[in-house]
Amino acid sequence: MINEEKLIWMYQTMYRIRLFEESMLEQTFKGNSMGVTHPSDGQEAVPTGICAHLTDKDWIGSTHRGHGHCIAKGLETDKMMAEIMGKFTGNCKGKGGSMHIADFSKGMLGANAIVGASIPLAVGAALTAKYQGKEKESIGVAFFGDGASSQGVLHESMNLASIWKLPVIFACENNQYAEATPSWYAVSVEDIADRAASYNIPGVVVDGMDVFEVYEAAGEAVKRAREGKGPTLLELKTYRYHGHFHADQTEKYRKIEEEKAWRKRDCILSFEKKVTDQKLISKTKLLSIRKEIEEEIGKAVDFGLSSPLPPEETLYDDVYVNYPNDLRGLR
């Protein structure tokens, strides 16, 4: 049984992600975010159910669709919004943007815009934990999508993690589409979880629209990792409500009936129904949580909008820890 505090955290996290993405899209269309953004609304149950088991000492790797992972790992929404708006107050001082939000103090190894490229980083974080004998307190989670499930580096990473018995979880968010290409076309198996068999590790299919199912499956995988039993591949079947990126028109490649069917299984609505039916959390409490989050996201947008752009001279900062040539003199 999940305790009330954890349930409330789950609800806060899912709603925070949902509202963040909606506000972020609104700001993107207003021209306030400076580039391409990839919303993750619809998929909130996945990072929430997995990160519910993690602490700041655990590491996650993320993707171009990474806002949900960041929020579930505890990153502050004001700094995230500022980063997406290209502001100096953002997590990466405006150098990274939507696709590269990171916070190493929270165990967030950075969102990565090369599909599959962050997977071995999470394996490397798990390697560090094992090297230091700290598997119990530090594991790695690699978030990636159905698109990355066909990348060679995923398969190399699963093989390495298996032979080295590393404390890592491969969390495949199968949201059915890689850009406009459906996974039924691009993936050779019905269930991506089956690919775990090649690497002699457990592969588990999970309903990624149900945060309780995600929480339970992730719990098993986390336990296995912390006990030194090695990696697990979780395939979390889910759906992105919006297109691949903010301006993507989904009606060109998927049917409205399909979208409606997935929305009927919305993770936030089903959570609300379950906890109120079972009298775990009151409707009043849920409403007050919503209100708090709405205020928080409103403040995050204001913080982003009112923050300064990075000073021009910071262009040259942080390429290296130490480089004797003056980078200003090299152009």
């Binding site: 990466c92 990171a102 071995p120 974080a125 190399e156 942080d318 290296y320």
Partner: protein, 351 residues
């Protein structure tokens, strides 16, 4: 780093003549002893395992015996034999570097760099910058480059210029046992990702190496020979070629100064400019392919910063714009040698 020791302790200290490969191996050992966060990962570096006992066999001592004897003393957790999956284990090494370790990666042949190239370009080189300076990647990679040994097109490349092109990476090109000791040690202790290029032709050459531990500052070149009439610039094996050419030139009454770059990113602009201002002529010798090469970069720097001091066109002696051929008859033509350098020097000196 102690200023007077930027290029190592010098040659008037206790030491001995040893091969480049032994200096390399000794330095790996010293760095493993120096910092418990240092570990080595690569293919075949512990040379097989006994099926019954699961103990490593160290059959070859790793590729080119670089890691010979290390697994016996440091164990399989610090000498990690990896399957043939460069992208995977280079990525994992970067992840380990981002979370507190100091990995050293053996990529075997330099050509294999490209199999892990996305990890190097997108993660190793860019993480610090795109995350606003919140992290660092203290990673060292090494591999064997260069033609002349019959390894053919896919085991002989020397495209270090491609790596030097990338902001966030550093690239060093030792030319002898003395320099590889100081540069490898400095690379492993450096907080940025550094690629150590080992030309196969220098690996079995012998030179004086001080006994003491020392580092050579990354980005500092050195004079291998002082001269008056022309500057020869080399890197890795081409520095050996320059030295050989300078001896032939001396017999012709031409006094050549030899600059050994040691690092190609960062690149020591000062030593190049200083030497050209004195000799007024320069030939850059580079075994990489010519287009967008380090030789081109040095030529551009000289044209920009020492144009008024030049008495002759800047000349490059490089490999041709072809892959490395197999047959010795062709390979000998491919690799720039001291005769190529001498004839180029003669052409610009007008004799």
């Amino acid at each position: 780093m102690d200023k007077k020791n930027k290029l190592g302790p010098g040659f008037d200290v206790p030491g001995k003549e040893i091969r480049y490969r032994d200096a390399f191996n000794n330095t790996l050992r010293e760095e493993l002893e120096y910092d418990k966060n240092v570990f080595i990962v690569g293919e075949d570096i512990s040379g097989g395992f006994d099926k019954e006992t699961k103990e490593p066999l160290d059959a070859w001592g790793g590729p080119f015996a670089a890691t010979k004897g290390l697994v016996q003393d440091f164990g399989v957790n610090r000498i990690m034999d990896a399957p043939i999956s460069e992208a995977g284990f280079v990525g994992a090494a970067i992840g380990a570097a981002l979370t507190g370790l100091r990995p050293v990666v053996d990529l075997m042949y330099f050509d294999f760099t490209t199999i892990a190239f996305d990890q190097l370009l997108s993660n190793a080189a860019k993480s610090r910058y795109m995350f606003g300076g919140q992290t660092k990647v203290p990673l060292t990679l090494f591999a064997r480059s260069g033609g002349g040994t019959g390894h053919a097109a896919q085991h002989s490349s020397a495209f270090y210029s491609i790596l030097a092109h990338i902001p966030g990476l550093k690239v060093v090109v030792p030319s002898d046992a003395y320099s590889v000791k100081g540069l490898l040690s400095a690379a492993i202790r450096d907080d940025d990702p550094v690629f150590v290029v080992n030309d196969k032709k220098v690996i079995n050459m012998t030179s004086f190496v001080p006994d003491e531990n020392y580092q050579i500052e990354l980005g500092k070149g050195r004079y291998l020979k002082r001269g008056e009439d022309i500057t020869l610039v080399g890197m890795s094996y081409s520095s050996v070629v320059c030295l050989e050419a300078s001896e032939k030139l001396e017999k012709l009454g031409i006094s050549a100064e030899v600059v050994d770059l040691l690092s190609v990113s960062p690149l020591d602009h000062e030593i190049i400019i200083e030497s050209v201002k004195k000799t007024n002529r320069i030939v850059i010798v580079d075994e990489d392919n010519p287009i967008a090469s380090i030789a081109s970069e040095v030529a551009a720097i000289v044209s920009d910063k020492a144009f008024d001091y030049l008495d002759a066109p800047v000349k490059r002696v490089t490999a041709p714009h072809t892959p490395v051929p197999y047959s010795k008859g062709l390979e000998d033509v491919y690799v720039p040698d001291s005769n190529d350098v001498v004839s180029t020097v003669k052409s610009i000196l007008g004799n």
